[in-house]
Amino acid sequence: MTVALERPAIAAANPSKRRRFSHGAVTPYLQSAPLALILGAFLLLPIIMIVVVSFWDYDFAAMYPDLLTTNYSDVLGSWVTWKTYLNTIKFAAIVWALTLFIGFWVAYFLAFHIRTTAMQMVLFLVCTVPFLTSNIIRMISWIPVLGRNGLINSTLVHMGLVPKPIEWLLYSEFAVVLAMVHLYTLFMVTPIFNTLMRIDRSLVEAARDAGASGWQVLWNVIIPLAKPGMAIGTIFVVTLVMADFSTVQVMSGGQSASVALMMKNQMSLLQYPAAAANAVVLLVLVLLMVAGILRIVDIRKEL
């Protein structure tokens, strides 16, 4: 009824359609303006400011506008800095390998072995929920498990497997890696699960019909098609680990260092220009890594 009634309105509105065309050209700009403004003010401007400040002079009380390169020569010329960068990259590599392995098999199990969509969603949510809770709480929660008198140690001692508690479980590099894997694996599971779900199942059947074994299907069909998901997961995990300071600080008990932790310490000493120079080096390193990964995958296509 209403359709018939409103028909004439369309005809009447037709002339204005041409006007809407020019009017419509402005719309996307207005719609994207808030995003552009927020990112401009809170992402671009701060980064530009960091680059500027990294050339400034400073003392214990304030910073002074200048054009010095000493902040950079301090960063790049120090043996401690190089060691810290290498340590951070080492964490990134280990955590990346572990999360990729765990993430792939978890996603593969969910995508190819769970038969109903409802069950898939339930199990996926079971994996997701902890990642929506506080990172620090999830870090702290390892203390009663790994500590000197923690669950693992007391069990091992009780069973007589070790004579005295193992010291390196907590406040060690092992603890840092374990906590990072615990914190960041979902960032690998989700994108891989997403790409696996989009693989056309007839491809798998075709490979089987052509006589491929289970492993051949996995190696020659599924893994190549899952690469974009792995790449996106890699971007997440690598950038998160490269930026991490809290996990390193809490889980290593101050015995290990990362670039971000070094920056945080410089910031607490009000050495902002030094921290800024570090920030620029770290940013360039991270962006280079991401650019390298983006050569493998076009994110816009994967969404």
């Binding site: 996307p28 990112l39 701060p46 960091i50 929920v129 929506l132 809770t133 008198n149 809490v250 816009r300």
Partner: protein, 272 residues
């Protein structure tokens, strides 16, 4: 494929998956149990009796800093971030459906926002505020810092949603005489409502738990994650676990409520 017999591979992977879930939830349940530690108990097992002592301790203001105040600030900040994230991501998602100058640059700026280390954003915003002469506060500088983390997620989700959104529905609505606002409000919005609720959940929980970005930008008053972070270095009683339990239970409630809302919206849409 769905009626094949379970293979050996299935059982191996099912065991692996179970271990993974235990790995995720095991430590969390440890602090959940230990937060009920008796008055004389310590940070590790065994339990020296069962009590609510540490929860009571939590609400005594002077005992563990300003728990109530920081919780309130985190809650309000999370809600602010949630609303802005939903609205701005939706608008940007709509914008990206059309071609416009700078679309690619803006898209990659959003991606950059995701990969730039959070401490760099924290430092940058802190220095900008200092140079401009504004005082950093949780509702200004930290608010902006959180948005740089939640907006890319929101924008990418909306981008994915609209990639799969058939324009046929809008064309049909327009053919039936709806103007562009009616098309949006009665056709597009109800269809993407579950995704918007999801974006809202992301916005709220990411902000509620964020602290690397808040570190240099929160000003005088701490948000809850900063308060907890401070406690990790100087609190050596199970009150830390009590706080962990309370905030985790709160997060779970938020997630459950959101899932309920998504299911409810989905049901209603199916009925209509």
């Amino acid at each position: 494929m769905s009626h094949e017999k379970r293979t050996f591979e299935f059982y191996v992977l099912a065991a692996f998956f179970t271990l993974f879930v235990l790995f995720l939830y095991g430590p969390l349940s440890a602090i959940l149990i230990l937060s009920f530690q008796g008055e004389t108990g310590g940070l590790t097992f065994p339990l020296n009796g069962v009590s609510l002592h540490w929860f009571a301790n939590l609400f005594e203001r002077q005992a563990v800093g300003d728990f109530g105040g920081s919780f309130k600030r985190s809650l309000v900040l999370g809600l602010m971030v949630m609303i802005v994230t939903v609205v701005v991501s939706l608008l940007a998602g709509l914008a990206f459906r059309q071609k416009f100058r700078g679309a690619t640059a803006l898209f990659y700026l959003a991606v950059a926002s995701l990969v730039v280390p959070s401490i760099i954003i924290s430092l940058g915003i802190g220095v900008v505020f200092q140079q401009v002469g504004f005082r950093p506060a949780w509702y200004t500088s930290a608010f902006g810092a959180h948005l740089t983390w939640t907006l890319p997620f929101g924008v990418l989700i909306m981008f994915a949603v609209f990639n799969r959104f058939s324009p046929a529905y809008e064309e049909a609505a327009r053919d039936l005489g709806a103007n562009s606002w009616q098309t949006f409000a009665h056709v597009v919005l109800p269809m993407i409502a579950p995704s918007l609720i999801g974006v809202g959940l992301f916005g709220f929980t990411l902000s509620y738990d964020e602290f690397a970005r808040t570190l240099m930008t929160s000003g005088t008053f701490n948000t809850l994650p900063l308060e907890i972070y401070g406690m990790t270095t100087n609190v050596t009683t199970p009150v830390l676990y009590a706080l962990g339990t309370v905030t985790t239970v709160f997060s779970f409630l938020v997630i459950l409520a959101t899932l309920g809302a998504i299911l409810y919206v989905g049901r209603r849409r199916a009925r209509v």
